[in-house]
Amino acid sequence: MDGIGTIGRGEVTVRDLSKSFTLNGRRLDVLRNLHLDVRGGEALAIVGPSGCGKTTLLRVLAGLERPDSGQVRIDGQSMEGVGTDRSVIFQEARLLPWLTVLRNVAFGLEVRGVTRAEADRRARHCIRLVGLAEFEAAYPRQLSGGMAQRVGIARALAVRPRILLLDEPLGALDAMTKLTMQEELARIWREEKVTMILVTHDLEEAIYLADRVLVLPKDRGDVPQLIEIDLPHPRDRSAPPFVALRRRLMAGFGLH
């Protein structure tokens, strides 16, 4: 089971991806001929104005949404729907309220047919990883928002995905919890060596966590931009290069 890392490295290749919705009888092209190469083990952040299609792209990658045309390949293999190689962390924790923290984290493993003992063992490991060992027996309603989100992260990690897909996972958290969780995500990413694709509306978060930032344009005619974040991990938010990069990116967005 530790062999997963050697099967593939979690490379994602997107070719000519298009997706449109029909909204009030009108066609809305959300993604148009998108090309993207995500390296195995890379952390890629996706930013862009509201409604530009970040969530849509992530859902297509997760297999929860079918593209109209184009191709998604994972480690060279064409992707068909949801798969055991990816797991999703949603904006809300989406925990099952009738299960304890332990059973929630084990849920993904159990539905994939892992035996209960093995599922528990792996779930416990991931619960420790997110620092909730004392809360194994608690129910979701007894957790704070940040704790619930950490359970969601543990659940996604427990199935040992090659690719983690995160849609504004920290968007609903307060500023303090958010900082802590960003550090935890950075640590988990380094330790687990997964590919991480993270949608966020927080530029600082993108710079803090990602190797590259994909900027989806507001105007669908424009081309998406890829920005390399060439700073060593773990990152220091107050270091001059970090601050300079943040300023440059914000200026690009018309802020400041």
Partner: protein
């Protein structure tokens, strides 16, 4: 360090005397709770007893409680009322079990498949609005005046609350939870068993409890027409013969039956849906 100073008195208060005070305080709180909850009921019963004894209320219509309890005891000890309880339980239990057995699976199925639900909903709403009591004569015509029509009218009345509550529960399951399970590759059957079913359980219980009350209501109505046994029959029969304490004995037993059924369902609900109570 100021914290420790603030905490100090609380730390010291762990002695034996304070423990005794604690027990006393808890006991007093228990008494206060019992008074708040059952005080009014006790007062009402006391007023009845005293009023009937002193002639404030007509004791031939409202006999004193001790005579009602004595009549209940005689009926139970002599076995006369036991037969009635048994037959009443059999009628309502059979009908209720059949309604549960049909309504829950059907509701789970209908709630999941939109087309089925949409096609059947108008009929359901129509049937639901048609009082089962109004249909009782029709059932008697079809099934005769025997057991079948009695059981069927209770079945009919209990079916719809459970069915509608189940459909509602399934339809209101959070789509986001289903999507979460899908994202882990859970097949449909697993999603149903592990997400849809537990999520709709609290709603199903609302239907079950509503129907339990309805079952007893219809039981009495059904037993008042063309029956010669059962608690509902005993109420009518005792009234005809002007055996007022016996009439109240039957009413008392019916109330206890209802309370017991509800308590059993509440207990079951607590066991199965403990998570839903946590927030309250």
């Amino acid at each position: 360090m100021t914290y420790q100073i603030l905490d100090a008195p609380a730390l010291q208060s762990g002695g034996a005397s304070s423990q005794r005070a604690d027990v006393l305080r808890r006991r007093r709180a228990g008494v206060a709770f019992a008074l708040r909850r059952y005080g009014l009921l006790a007062g009402f019963l006391a007023l009845w007893q005293i009023g009937a004894m002193l002639g404030w209320i007509n004791p031939t219509v409202f006999p004193p409680l001790d005579r009602i309890i004595a009549a209940t005891w005689t009926g139970l000890a002599g076995g006369a009322l036991l037969d009635d309880i048994a037959i009443s339980l059999q009628r309502s239990g059979l009908a209720y079990a059949a309604a549960v057995g049909l309504a829950i699976p059907l509701g789970l199925f209908m709630g999941q498949i939109r087309a089925v639900e949409q096609a059947l909903d108008p009929i359901l709403q129509f049937f639901r609005q048609t009082s089962a009591l109004a249909l009782y004569p029709v059932f008697i015509l079809l099934l005769g005046l025997g057991e079948a029509s009695k059981v069927f009218v209770i079945f009919w009345a209990t079916l719809f609350p459970i069915l509608l509550a189940t459909i509602g529960g399934v339809k209101e399951v959070d789509r986001k939870l289903i999507e979460m399970a899908t994202s882990f590759g859970a097949p449909r059957g697993t999603i149903f068993r592990r997400v849809v079913l537990p999520a709709s359980l609290p709603s199903i219980f609302v239907g079950l409890r509503l129907s339990a009350t309805t079952a007893l209501l219809l039981l009495i109505a059904a037993e008042m027409i063309g029956a010669n046994k059962g608690l509902g029959f005993q109420v009518m029969n005792a009234q005809y013969n002007f055996q007022i304490p016996q009439m109240f004995a039957a009413i008392l037993l019916l109330a206890l039956l209802g309370l017991t059924a509800n308590a059993a369902l509440v207990w079951l609900q607590r066991r199965l849906c403990r998570w839903a109570d946590l927030a309250r």
